[in-house]
């Protein structure tokens, strides 16, 4: 049986997950594909720690460059993470014409163009299923299964840490900081949580999905990003009373030939399938013009789910090597069918707004007339009870209006004396166009 030699860069938790999967199911993969994936070398700075998987110690090396050049290594798997050493090693492998499999979303979001170009120039495959949605085969669905579709929209819950925090906040009525602290203690959140909770990890994945879907290079600074840091449980509660659940959502939309890309906490109707995605699970809903709505659901992170995606890519690369069909599916194809990434500020949008309003006759009238003057109507309203002349929470659901008008109207409200503290606002998706 044909063998394909794997060189693994990075023997951390994800690398260990991949090795564990290969040791467990290598025979099954060989039975299914007629090709045997053989681990030929593992490069890591730490070659002594016990990872709990049985690996011949002679496979371990600290010399990544030598491993990449090793002729027994047919394909290089990069699971180091980060954007420095990982970039260097991936470029080295590609320049040798060796295919690369990576799970590195940050690297692809920041240096994708360079890496994709080097892969194409050297006729080397680059696969990256594990970079978005962990074990969910979403990259494959977009560029193969749905390849005949013009994609109208993509809605993704792509960060398991944020979804875990939001689920626990809702189910247990806990404060953001408390759940974050517990998630950190349990290992579901990093000690430095910004990448997750401020939306940047989701933004990396959004950039990859938008680039791939629309054949446009998308850079991080073209994505409007806000995260869930400091989200108040009161908003989760009010959203639920109004029939919604708050999710940190990647929202990519085709708008008149161009594309908008946002990451933001978003109210989703409770009856929508994305609303029932809880805990560390991820899901992506893709609306194609031919196929209609499709959704993909699974664990978005963790060494095993990620390992599953990496191994799936390795099989693809192995099949390409075995059938001598490198670049059968290029890592990225730029084409001219779409315009560019544009701001969503001109688009119609619905908003959930919470403000702190002085409880006195005429306050609400002032708010409504200020909004009305900008052409923004209130669809529904909840005012919490409180003594006269104190500030009480008021929640407004706005009718769809130009996002820019809505945001300006809110800024104006914020400056009124009858409005206390800072106004909180979140977008609402009704999915009606789907």
């Amino acid at each position: 049986m044909q063998e394909i030699g794997i060189g693994l860069l990075g023997f951390g938790t994800v690398g260990t997950g991949m090795v564990r999967g290969l040791l467990r199911n290598g025979d099954l993969i060989a039975g299914r594909c007629g090709i045997r994936l053989v681990l030929r070398a593992i490069a890591d700075q730490d070659v002594t720690s016990d990872r709990g998987v049985e690996v011949d110690p002679s496979l371990l090396t600290t010399d990544a460059e030598a491993m990449i050049k090793d002729p027994r290594v047919d394909v290089v798997v990069e699971l180091i993470g980060g954007t420095t050493a990982a970039r260097t090693f991936i470029l080295q492998a590609l320049k040798l014409g060796k295919p690369v499999v990576t799970a590195n979303k940050a690297l692809l979001a920041e240096h994708g163009e360079e890496i994709f170009n080097v892969a194409a120039e050297n006729d080397a495959d680059l696969y990256y299923e594990a970079s978005v949605g962990g074990g969910i085969p979403i990259i494959r669905a977009l560029r193969e299964g749905l390849v005949a579709n013009h994609i109208e929209s993509i809605y993704g819950i792509l960060n398991g840490t944020c979804n875990y925090i939001l689920t626990r906040m809702e189910n247990e009525g806990l404060a953001f900081d408390d759940v974050l602290k517990q998630a950190q203690d349990l290992g579901f959140a990093e000690a430095e949580p910004s990448l997750d909770i401020d939306g940047w990890d989701t933004a990396h994945k959004t950039a990859i999905l938008a680039s791939l879907t629309y054949g446009l290079p998308v850079s991080l600074d073209q994505i409007e990003v806000s995260g869930i840091r400091g989200l108040d449980p009161i908003d989760i509660r009010h959203a639920k009373n109004l029939g919604y659940r708050i999710k940190l959502m990647a929202v990519i939309k085709h708008v008149g030939g161009d594309v908008t890309a946002q990451v933001r906490p978003t109210l989703v109707p409770l009856s929508h399938p994305l609303a029932s995605v809880s805990g560390v699970f991820n899901a992506v809903m893709v609306h194609g013009d031919v196929v209609g709505d499709t959704m993909y659901y699974g664990q978005g992170a963790g060494p095993d789910a990620t390992g599953s995606a990496v191994l799936g890519d390795l099989v693809d690369v192995a099949r390409n090597l075995a059938s001598d069909s490198k670049q059968r599916i290029p890592a990225f194809v730029e084409h001219e069918h779409y315009g560019s990434i544009i701001s969503s500020s001109d688009m119609p949008a619905k908003y959930f707004v919470r403000l702190s309003l002085q409880n006195q006759p005429g306050s609400l009238g002032q708010v409504a007339s200020r909004l009305g003057a900008r052409g923004v109507s209130i669809a529904s309203m909840i005012q919490e009870p409180g003594p006269v002349d104190t500030y009480v929470p008021v929640v407004l659901i706005m009718e769809a209006a130009r996002e820019m008008d809505l945001l300006e109207a809110m800024a104006e409200l914020d400056s009124l004396d009858i409005v206390g503290e800072h106004i909180v606002s979140y977008g609402i998706e009704e999915f009606q166009a789907d």
Copy 2:
């Protein structure tokens, strides 16, 4: 740009859907793939009807055999349906070494082995994504994305007609026959509905998924099939009160090296993602040993969703032709990693049982002791009120026991004088092993 010539067999609703998708997105597909799919001929007995798509009339022919042989036809798409002419034409194309794309689940379920063998012998690709789950790329997910996983279980809602009927029965409290009649009037159900409502369409798809997943030829007679014909709304209502929703489910499980495959109305916990799949949508939940739970959701039928899957397969075939990598992924790979398809009668199972019980002291005790004698316990019970000595509906949820014991115990109850009418029973899936 390289062109791949398509010959379409069957210009019915699905064929029209495929042509419509190609006319709409052919340029986009070419931009993404660098290959242009060109419709070279369409064979159908009816070459005059207006299908609402613009096709050069010179493409139409009634001579399918000549079309298959036409050297300008690089790939044959079979969308005739049925198991006679479709089989003949597919075998003709494969014997010429021409790749085939088909949506024909009945044909693959009944003649898969023969067709797969001829494809392999003639080094010809055979793709069939559209045969299961309409536009959902589930075949691709199983044999590519999740290829590194041993699959523990597959749960599928695979028949849109049945799911539409069940959803309307629940939402509107309607009787089975009334909804079926309306579905027929609306074109969601066939005039001869047996294929759908008796579970056979789902069984065809179950055979395909089980074969593919376990590398075993699976024939229809190895699948335990029951449908939803005559389902009583009372059971939908009681199931809901007990926290479940009834779905017609394909259930494929790995059990100690062997595989069980069933199609049956199944109670699913309301909180489970499969419970929220409503109307004509399909969904498949796949549990892999590495990746964990994943789910795939979309429209399971209809000309456009099916057309999307057929076009996705055509792109795969085109990429294989362009990169000279035929049989990169064989249609079916038999291997030795699993035993055989076995009956589920020895497996533990939970059941929902409704019986008509004489309302008199001691009746329930008799039922419980008969069950107990077979080692079957009652987990919960609902008895509807009624006058003494009349028969009243009683719903029992059984604790998990050997399926065979449960069914025998029920047959025994059925013979008691205090039990009227026929006992109704449905399996319950708790998904706890996942």
